[in-house]
Amino acid sequence: MDLTFTEAEEDFRRQLRAWLRANIPEEWKRPGFWESFDDDESFRLRREWERAKALAGFAGIQWPTEYGGRGGTPGMKAIYDEEMVLARAPRTVNPLGLTFLAPTVMAIGTDAQRKEIIGPMLRNEVIWCQGFSEPGAGSDLAALATKGVRDGDDFIVNGQKVWTTNAVHGDKIFALVRTEPGSTRHRGISMLLIDMHQPGVEARPLRQMSGASEFGEVFFTDARVPATDCLGEIGDGWRTAMLLLSFERGASGIAQYTEFRRQYDEIAAVAKRLGRDRDPVIRDRLARVLTELECLRLHAMYVLTQVECGRDLGSESSMTKLQWSETFQDLWEVFDDILGEDATLDSIGELDLRPMHTESMWSRSVTIWGGSSQVQRNITAERVLGLPR
């Protein structure tokens, strides 16, 4: 058992921490700061900050240096994720590109794609969207209907994507498109890399129950994409998508733990302020959440150990998703119960509850996106426990 990081890893932590301390203005950490801007302005600010961070060498932590990455260890990536949360750094504006597209391009992209995609993404010159879900294809992704028809060297794309993160700020979208006429289910799909700045592509914000618009809709009306802008083979898009989604395994439980634990402490402080920490039921429920948070922290250490040992976690990543998303949701349910009959108020006395309500509403989404809890349970039951389909 060794629960420490190496000296090189701790050295990396010190460098990163110093850079973050020098480069995150104090006022950015004030609750409600980011909400005081309109969406475009806040996105622009975060985009520029993240670019500066990349230029300082704090991006692509585990990527090979030949792609502009840092060539770091899995431990360094875990440290990076943790320190970003501790420093209250802005969240990345390019999450789908960095987490999913880049490693897929490194694995199966052409030389031209590697060159054109990875560097500009790292510097935030291109913001990538993911075009998977459709109105008729949610958990059943293979039901997707967006069509691409061959026209000379191009595909002409028609259809609609939904739940697209950063849709209105995106520059390009990696989209699953049915390129073989008459194909069904997993066959005849291609992953096309589509320029969003063209007349045939329209992105609209999607207003969520929280009032925010992290997600959007993307409409394709005779959008044009060169057939060479296909990641993986044409018609082999399902396999490309499965490879791409497998990179979620690196998703860092330690960052989630760090963030949720801070939220737990904030919620506990509210409970004390309102005298609700004396209620034995509330105490029990907070202790239940803390127990699950501790388990999440330990699970993150377990996952990191497996990664460092070169083991493939495969479908076990469903367990990670279930543990963090269900715990996060439970945490915010306790918060509502602490507030009791004042649960929906914007404020209690001097206490502004709105930023916490935003998190509470967001917690309803996390058990849906990225594979709903029900899908994760199916995967766990069938692929980990071996129960029959």
């Binding site: 060794d2 506990a268 367990m319």
Partner: protein
């Protein structure tokens, strides 16, 4: 970062489980169980061959220092054994013996250590640890109190060593036939363990709690694995019942819960062994999580076996009953959560 068992620890685990699979399977457990709950038990739930083999393989010696002819290993290895014994429903005084040894190691005089620890390590002496009650007086729920050669009990604020406590023992009948219990009526204070202190009893309790949690998590994993195996095969409506989503989702949730409990027990063992600052929280989390996992998993074992799971002839009830008893030891999950709340929210404010 390395949060997992080492190869050596895994081999140790495989050796314990391998022995149990070949030489002391559930049929053997049933023999002891039936005797324990019979009107007039003939045995003491302490099969000689099993204890001999355990001693040969070093199970009771795991925490005894090498100076006293033990293996000098730590709590991480001890929880490996405890888990395997829980998974196997194994009867016998292993935990009590190891913990009595720990009490003597932590609180005993040099003479007491030299006298007892080598005999604990070799399996010559069976031990018991009882932290309820106080001597002189009645000490309830002592595992294998009738056959123990030595029991460590509370005496006022300290600890005392009672030799051959069997002479003060009255058997306590329990529906958990995998373990024998006795109540001790100790007439005098016994021999004092001179280095006992409040802090030391806290440490001892933490170690005992981790080993109980490890047994529980072993029960939880084994009962889940057996249920999954059964539901893969059991046909109803022409298909395996494990293909039904209502069952799949319940078993998937249990798998997540049991896995988290395994992490929590492993970490608590390491935290106690290494004296980590957060060990008190780690132990409470481990016991709460392992207790819940075992109770849920064993109840699910009955439910998802259907009618056969409610019969005496099936082994489900061994798992369920052992979990019921152990979940209450050293503070049940509710009590652990009260502790967790105190550790993270502070005591209840005025």
């Amino acid at each position: 970062m390395y949060f997992a068992l080492t190869d050596d620890q895994r081999e140790f685990d495989a050796a314990v489980r391998g022995y149990l699979a070949e030489r002391f399977d559930l049929a053997a457990v049933r023999g002891e169980f039936e005797d324990a709950v019979s009107a007039e038990p003939v045995g003491e739930g302490h099969p000689e061959a099993l204890w001999k083999a355990a001693a040969e393989q070093g199970w009771p010696a795991v925490l005894v220092p090498e100076d006293h002819e033990g293996l000098g290993l730590g709590m991480v290895e001890a929880q490996v054994i405890a888990r395997a014994l829980g998974a196997g429903m194994v009867p016998g005084p292993w935990r009590g013996t190891v913990l009595a040894g720990e009490a003597i190691r932590l609180a005993g005089s040099d003479e007491q250590q030299a006298d007892w620890l080598p005999r604990v390590a070799s399996g010559e002496v069976v031990g018991a640890l009882a932290l309820r009650g106080s001597a002189p007086g009645t000490i309830p729920g002592v595992e294998y109190g009738r056959i123990a050669g030595v029991a460590v009990v509370r005496s006022g604020v300290g600890l005392a060593l009672v030799e051959r406590p069997g002479s003060y023992a009255t058997p306590q009948r329990s529906y958990d036939g995998t373990t024998r219990l006795a109540s001790l009526s100790v007439p005098d204070a016994g021999a004092v363990l001179p280095r006992a202190s409040e802090a030391m009893i806290v440490e001892l309790t933490a170690r005992a709690t981790v080993l109980v949690a490890a047994d529980l998590v072993g029960i939880a994993r084994e009962s889940l694995s057996r249920t999954v195996a059964y539901d893969r095969e059991r046909l109803q409506f022409g298909v395996p019942v494990g293909s039904f989503q209502a069952i799949k989702h319940a078993l998937a949730d249990l798998h997540v819960g049991v896995t988290m409990a395994e992490h929590a027990v492993l970490y608590a063992a390491y935290a106690v062994e290494s004296g980590l600052a957060g060990r008190e929280l780690a132990v409470a989390v481990a016991k709460a999580k392992a207790g819940d996992a075992a109770l849920q998993s064993t109840a699910a074992m009955i439910q998802y076996h259907g009618g056969i799971g409610y019969t005496w002839e099936h082994e489900t009830h061994f798992f369920y009953k052992r979990a019921k008893r152990l979940a209450g030891q050293f503070g049940d999950s509710d009590a652990q959560r009260q502790k967790i709340a105190s550790l993270t929210l502070g005591p209840v404010s005025a």
